[in-house]
């Protein structure tokens, strides 16, 4: 009897203690931001936008957009709190939007410190650059599309699967900024006739400052060089010498490349880094806009494609070298194979790479021509 009573008291105490954990948060009392956006106004003052879903029957609009002018990222939480019915939460941020004005600053990345320091925050929001002031896209709310955070997240997700953009999360960006042999690369969104569109990627320099933009095809090529393609990738290239008839681009051929193999050789000669890249890909023809007898003249077409693809790669590399950045990650190769030379230049690797000799040689093999001759 006595022992039972003791047990009962013990269990009761435990239940009371556990139930009184002070960290409880009820769903009704929380406002979850799904999107956070950074921008600068004309006086170069930080503006922070957020989009959060509204769960209420009587409200017609499903999201709530907020705009505050805090001094720091963490301080914005208090300011946003005063506009919402619940406690403002950063735990389920899906997307971090950055305006071009923000990206033109050098040390904007420091703003994200709170997300790393406070472990309650996720490090998985996708980083997306927006070409223009954020107010244009945040308040757009098109009626025929899901809410902006979900739309952007899914866009990045599906385009990344086709290698047309990159999926850089907050943690990924941190990693790319801190790595000396790589420069960051993030997704890019633009407004085209009031429609939201993913246009490729934005390249940043070592300090997170805007360097250049790549369209979708260039992004695919870049990801091939990164050895980071998923599934097969689509390329559309012009074949010189073919006629362009009427308004249609009838000189184009579309390819479906899979089994892409990239070999990168690194050496250091004559005070310069040398990179030799050998890219072998097996392509399938998916579209041919000019008459061509692939069956009998396949070799010829193969050579023309090889030449064009190689040119595309060379242009991309030239672009990167002029921007003095290294989104491919050649610095990692330099570090692994020529450590002593890399060590001397690691703090300004971008400039070193701009002077390096990078050779590309492409080999394409037509593996399939489709069901049409």
């Amino acid at each position: 009897m006595n022992k039972r009573l003791l047990h009962a008291i013990l269990i009761a105490t435990v239940i009371v203690i556990i139930a009184s954990c002070s960290d409880r948060l009820d769903m009704e009392d929380a406002t979850h931001a799904l999107l956070v956006g950074f921008d600068l106004d004309k006086e170069n003052e930080l503006i922070l936008y957020s989009t959060s879903p509204v769960f209420s029957k009587n409200v017609e609009k499903k999201t709530r957009e907020l705009r505050v002018k805090p001094q720091t990222n963490r301080q914005s939480r208090g300011k946003q709190d005063s506009y919402t019915e619940g406690v403002f939460q950063g735990r389920s941020i899906q997307v971090l939007l950055l305006s071009k004005r923000i990206l033109q600053q050098e040390n904007w990345f420091q703003l994200t410190d709170v997300w790393f320091r406070d472990p309650k925050n996720p490090l998985t929001p996708r980083i997306i650059a927006f070409d223009g002031p954020l107010s244009e896209i945040i308040y757009l709310n098109p009626k025929d599309q899901p809410m902006l955070p979900i739309l952007l997240r899914e866009m990045v997700e599906t385009k990344n699967a086709r290698s047309e953009t990159v999926k850089t999360t907050l943690q990924g960006l941190h990693q790319q900024i801190r790595e000396k042999g790589v420069t960051p690369i993030i997704s890019e969104v633009r407004l085209k006739d009031k429609q939201i569109a993913i246009t490729g990627t934005t390249l940043l320099d070592h300090k997170g400052k805007y360097a250049d933009s790549l369209n979708m095809q260039e992004t695919i090529l870049l990801r091939i060089l990164q050895k980071n393609t998923k599934k097969s990738v689509n390329l559309t290239i012009p074949i010189p010498g073919e006629m362009k008839i009427g308004p249609f681009h009838t000189d184009k051929v579309s390819l479906n490349a899979d089994e892409i193999k990239v070999k990168i050789k690194t050496s250091f000669l004559k005070d310069k880094f040398q990179f030799h890249m050998h890219i072998t890909m097996r392509v399938g023809l998916s579209e041919l806009l000019f008459p061509f007898d692939v069956r009998s003249q396949g070799k010829e077409l193969e050579n023309k494609i090889t030449e064009q693809v190689q040119m595309n790669f060379e242009n991309l590399i030239k672009k990167i070298q002029t921007d003095k950045i290294d989104p491919i990650g050649l610095g990692l190769y330099a570090q692994a194979h020529e450590y002593s030379h890399f060590k001397k230049v690691e703090d300004h690797w971008g400039e070193t790479l701009a002077n390096a000799d990078i050779h590309v040689s492409v080999k394409t093999i037509i593996g399939a021509m489709g069901t049409v001759k």
Binding site: V14, I17, I18, S20, C21, S22, D23, R91, S92, F116, P119, K120, P122, L123, T124, T169, Q171, G172, H174, Q175, R178, E179, K180, V182, G329, L332, Y333, Q335, A336, H337, Y339
Partner: protein, 366 residues
């Protein structure tokens, strides 16, 4: 003579007890410490320390073989006299208590940081101490089973750590020795601190069912430790850049932050909740052994009364004093240094003494 046979532990339990105690909390911060000292060559230090640890633990076994039916305390009092045994018991009990307390404090700080930011420390301490009491009051056999269950339940964890590998750059490990051998040797002492915990043998040896396998057991358990540490360290090294890894206190947790499923975000929270079970391996066995020493001191068999006292002391003490993060860090380092003396130096001297002792036939008093 056999006074501990009632509570035998199996070969498997012995291996896992050692392994669990060594690895329990070390694996969270080890990759950062290695990276701080030796950069990406830090993993080599793990292999060197593995050899050292095996040698040291084999010495412990050699010592214990001299008196297979008693603990270290019995052995001390046989060779050095009653008072030496008592002094040994007090020091060893303090050491083990400190070991367990450090583990507890670290666990509370981690769970407070990641899970329960607003819950007071003493409540978390109470929540951890209740199951501890339930297990520790039962003795080595239950202890062994508990460790076995926890390790078996945790077998899936390494597989999850393979997921972040898709974003990893293996090139980061090259060249293997970036700055030569010097940093690797500089990392050795720090790595050694993460390998203490085989002192379990001092107390558990007489409980071991098959003593001839003890040496094999300790080698297996250290090999497991080495593989586990190596696995975690290499994953952190290829995932984070060499400069970035220094920025995180517990890179092992930050690696998990990259994992994302459609139905759950912040997966690392689940892991930390689960890790509490693994962390518990650092204080549950030590707490048992600590009260075992004190009970031995007064010559009794039932350790439960001392356990209750210790329990109350920790619970009430936490209400008044809880170390901060920096203090906990210092406690960990100090534990490593003390552990190095207790587990590497003392057994060596002891073996030497015992050997000379037996050689010269000083065993009159037996």
């Amino acid at each position: 003579m056999k006074k501990y046979t009632l509570n035998e532990i199996t070969f498997m339990q012995y291996i896992l007890l050692n392994f669990g105690m060594v690895v329990s909390i070390g694996f969270l911060s080890l990759p950062r410490v290695l990276a701080e000292q030796a950069g990406t060559a830090g993993w080599i230090a793990l292999i060197i320390v593995w050899v050292i640890s095996i040698v040291a633990s084999l010495i412990v076994i050699q010592v214990m073989k001299r008196y297979p039916d008693g603990t270290l305390l019995d052995l001390l009092s046989m060779y050095l006299g009653k008072w030496a045994g008592k002094a040994g018991a007090v020091l060893f009990a303090l050491y083990l208590f400190y070991y367990g307390y450090t583990g507890l404090v670290y666990t509370i700080l981690i769970s407070k940081q990641y899970l329960l930011q607003q819950t007071p420390d003493y409540i978390i301490m109470l929540l951890l101490l209740i199951p501890t009491y339930v297990i520790v009051r039962n003795g080595p056999r239950i202890l062994g089973r508990y460790v076995e269950v926890i390790i078996l339940l945790s077998l899936w964890i390494p597989f999850v750590y393979l997921i972040p590998l898709k974003d990893a750059h293996w090139l980061r490990l090259l060249p293997v020795l970036k700055e030569g051998w010097k940093p690797v040797f500089a990392a050795l002492p720090y790595t050694l601190y993460y390998h203490i915990g085989f002192s379990t043998t001092f107390i558990l040896y007489p409980f071991l069912k098959n003593k001839r396998k003890a040496a094999a057991g300790i080698v297996i358990s250290y090999t497991l430790t080495m593989l586990m540490y190596l696995f975690i360290t290499v994953i952190c090294f290829v995932y984070f850049s060499p400069d970035e890894i220094l920025e995180y206190n517990e890179p092992t947790i930050n690696v998990l932050k990259a994992i994302e499923f459609k139905f759950i975000s912040r997966i690392e929270v689940l892991f930390i909740a689960f890790y509490l079970l693994i962390f518990s391996l650092s204080w549950i066995p030590t707490m048992y052994m600590s009260v075992f020493c004190t009970t031995w001191l007064i010559g009794k068999q039932d350790h439960r009364n001392h356990l209750r006292l210790l329990w109350l002391f920790i619970a009430v003490g936490t209400y008044f004093f809880m170390p901060t993060f920096f203090q906990s860090e210092r406690m960990n380092t100090l534990l490593g240094q003390i552990g190095f003396v207790v587990e590497y130096l003392v057994p060596g001297c002891l073996l030497l003494y015992v050997w000379i002792h037996d050689r010269l036939g000083w065993r009159k008093h037996l």
